[in-house]
Assembly symmetry: C2
């Protein structure tokens, strides 16, 4: 049998350059796109009936890559099943990464994206981490622009509504050898979604997970790869079983706070020095570098009203601060929700109660949580002109 070392070694031992640059093979080129219209468009779903990630538009973007040729001409074609050999590496070795982003319709009817360059850059970092190919992010953004025009009717109107976009790359080589895939498929699908809180905020309760860790130094916690997500389902189920809505990920002997479910975490508090501080864990390699996270830090710094820190935060510190009434607000942050206020954190058998709005006992979100949310929404929907909001021409 010619086993070679094809199994554990890369097949492209002698040509690593091809993987990391497209100099020898074709790059992704939006101007080569082939558009095939869906002849059986579906009926739209009413805004009130949308469930996150369940409804999909009529078309999808696909592009195929091979080690020999690079990127084939991309396609915009009817949304349809993906058919792969059962040996395709995506089914066995989690050769997969993705992005989450949204397309918004503004009051003038223009289509807008929010900091899409950050998604493209992060996706290329994710593909590099799992030995999938690189692509030109500007070209994928052009393709997404074309796609949004084809499926424009699927971008729901109204503040809080958007077409959630899911760029995904999967390894498609038909081989059980554990080696970098010599075939890949890039695809983008779109799902119309509504506001996370259609009738106002609803604060959530968290259970701090002590049985499992999400990520670690020199692991993959800062990449948006599939493998980071499946292991989080069991802690979620365990939190849910105890009546908490999400799990809070901790790390290390000091129980550092890292992420909330699949969101970044923010704490607004009076710190140990008595300063009002908005703090979030630093990008030490184990935290996902969220676009919303970065946007919140940038906005809060521009406000100049309180200290803004990327710093280590531990559960004992937070517990002490809760007990000393120094915690003002806690929230998760991500593309799907923008922000999610937190009202309770269970830690070592104790429920720590986080304040919401001190001036309004009926409110489910604190004033800074709300302000962050509203400001980002204003930018996303073009109500404040801001370079982060990119109009699709």
């Amino acid at each position: 049998m010619r086993f070679l070392r094809a199994q554990f070694l890369t097949q492209r031992f002698n040509q690593p350059a091809k993987r990391w640059s497209s100099s020898a093979t074709a790059g992704l080129q939006a101007n080569l796109v082939r558009v095939t219209k869906n002849e059986s468009p579906k009926a739209l779903v009413a805004n009130k009936d949308l469930i996150f990630g369940r409804t999909f538009s009529d078309h999808m973007i696909t592009a195929e890559w091979s080690i020999e040729k690079g990127w084939d001409a991309p396609e915009i074609r009817p949304y349809d099943k993906i058919c792969l050999d059962p040996s395709a590496v995506v089914f066995h070795y989690a050769s997969e990464c993705f992005e989450g982003m949204k397309a918004y319709k503004d009051k003038q009817g223009k289509i807008r994206l929010f900091r899409p360059d950050m998604n493209m850059a992060r996706m290329n970092r994710s593909t590099a981490r799992i030995a999938l190919p690189q692509f030109d992010g500007d070209e994928l953004l052009k393709l997404i622009g074309d796609y949004l025009k084809v499926d424009e009717r699927w971008i729901p109107e109204g503040r809080g509504y958007s077409l959630y976009l899911r760029p995904t790359m999967i390894g498609t080589q038909e081989s059980l050898g554990v080696a970098a895939s010599n075939r890949a498929m890039l695809f983008v699908i779109g799902s119309p979604v509504g506001p996370y809180y259609p009738t106002g905020f609803s604060a959530i309760s968290l259970k701090a997970t002590t049985e499992y860790v999400r990520a670690w130094p020199r692991g993959t916690g800062d990449s948006k790869i599939g493998g980071n997500y499946a292991p989080g389902l069991l802690p979620q189920l365990m939190a849910a079983k105890k009546g908490y809505q999400q799990n809070l990920w901790l790390f290390g002997e000091q129980d550092q706070l890292t992420e909330v479910g699949a969101m970044n975490l923010f704490v607004l508090w009076k710190n140990e020095q008595g300063e009002v501080e908005l703090a979030t864990p630093p990008l030490d390699g184990s935290i996902l570098p969220g676009v919303t996270r970065d946007s919140i830090l940038s906005l809060a710094r521009s406000w100049g009203e309180f200290k803004v820190s990327e710093r280590k935060l531990t559960m004992p510190q937070l517990r002490d601060a809760v007990k000393e009434n120094r915690v003002l607000e806690v929230f998760g942050a991500g593309t799907a929700c923008i922000v999610t206020p937190v009202k309770t954190i269970e830690y070592m058998g104790e429920d720590l109660h986080i304040p919401l709005d001190p001036n309004d006992p009926t409110s489910q979100a604190g004033p800074i949580t709300k302000r962050v949310n509203d400001t980002i929404m204003d930018i996303q929907y073009g109500e404040i002109e801001h370079p982060w909001s990119v109009v699709v021409n």
Copy 2:
């Protein structure tokens, strides 16, 4: 929009029991199997032309699961593509796990499996870790037995040849919500393979990886889930680029040895007390509990000729031992190869040379490495009667 918390919470908040036992829904039942013969069987590939994991037999086993109904009747049907919605969770959140096992043809023409109950038990542990459904391992083994009779001509004859079996489970729910999948597919494919070393052993060189860490306590390193594999490709490429054939995974401040590429690791040495000892890292949650690993420990213990330990081993300890000529043999162990002798380990810029056979300078494997390999093969092919070898009736 009805976002609910369907996105991050499980949809089955109120029914976790259904997932972990099949009391309320149907279990996997081999006697319900529907067999559809492939009307276009392929030509066999000659033994000498087999490449690991590239050729597949004419049929596959499939079984579909849903949260509402449990396991549908399984099928043995023509090997064919798997078609899934682009939103299927396996493409996004690495909702996937697998096993590797082999079917052997003995000299009497009987089909044998090697400790298949261990694969079934480990697969159920893997599915539990990523919130995929449980199944009755004995039922899947019956199905595999039926499948092997249907595809018997694909089990190559001759010592070292076998039909590699790949049981796989994937989450197939069509939703972008990060939640336990309410749909799953179990499939098994078979690939005829030959001996790892058709013309005798060939020892490999390793590069110790210091840039990345494979697993962490309370992570997923002891589960055979897809997400453990894609992150290992880049360290492999980095090792290959420097001329080493695989990477050696380290952990912690003391640079503990953990695994070799996708294999368990064994060191035969004179330890600090001068005892001859066969050592392998302990199952502390970050090491895959390999079937071959367990078999080697058990055999070596039964021989009673040297100390056999599951213990922490660090690179500085190994480096000292190499320099003091205390290292006798080092090898990797796994289903694909049984054992792989190691001749060199690069660590911190230095090549540590590991002895092979002191009595034969042309040999590519040490005497214990060879003995382990030959004994396991004798059992696998029924040349020694042993309860680990299970005849498929």
